[in-house]
Symmetry: C2
Subunit: 116 residues, 2 copies
């Protein structure tokens, strides 16, 4: 069996803090990207307004990392899609800690499984 082209880690984070704070979220994303050793091509964040959610995507040479937050639920949806063998779990740990998540539901999906 050949390796997949990439691993896509989907994580739902519950009980989070700071989800209406774009600076905190940007710092978490940058720290997570840095920890994986991935190459950041572009980072785009959008804040929907005071007290509201933040949505952001880091475009990587190795695919992408995204967050969508719902402060009213203490909930954030995280995607970490990395090609080339980088460890998505390290990035998730950093984001979960930065947002003080109390519960994480994560699943890994192999993308492009017949290749590599």
């Amino acid at each position: 069996m050949t390796a997949p082209l990439g691993i896509h880690l989907l994580a739902d984070l519950h009980g989070c803090e700071g989800l209406a704070n774009p600076a905190r979220i940007e710092a978490a994303l940058r720290a997570a990207v840095s920890a994986t050793g991935a190459t950041l091509l572009n980072l785009q964040l959008h804040h929907f307004g005071p007290g509201q959610g933040v949505t952001g995507v880091a475009l990587l040479a190795e695919s992408h990392l995204s967050i969508h937050s719902w402060p009213e639920h203490g909930f954030a949806a995280i995607d970490i899609f990395l090609c080339g063998g980088a460890d998505a779990g390290v990035a998730l740990d950093i984001i979960a800690a930065a947002l003080a998540a109390t519960r994480i539901e994560a699943q890994r999906v192999a993308r492009g499984a017949p290749f590599g």
Copy 2:
């Protein structure tokens, strides 16, 4: 049971054409976003060079749509993450047709399932 906050459609497209053509991929992404009625906040594409892959993310008010392509394998990984009840399947059909995909492996993941 309450509805999830969003539906995340992960699709692996095989047998594709045009995967080293950023203009074709950008047009497909814009048409897909438009068909869902989602609000486009930002579209970012990166082409790794002549004959090489394209990676791109459309940041939406309703979450995101992304593509990562491997022309050497005729393979593209698509993510369509939409909140608010928009139909991700319509977007996938448009992208798959635009890239002339011959095989699609798709799965839907409910995100933020306890909420909504």
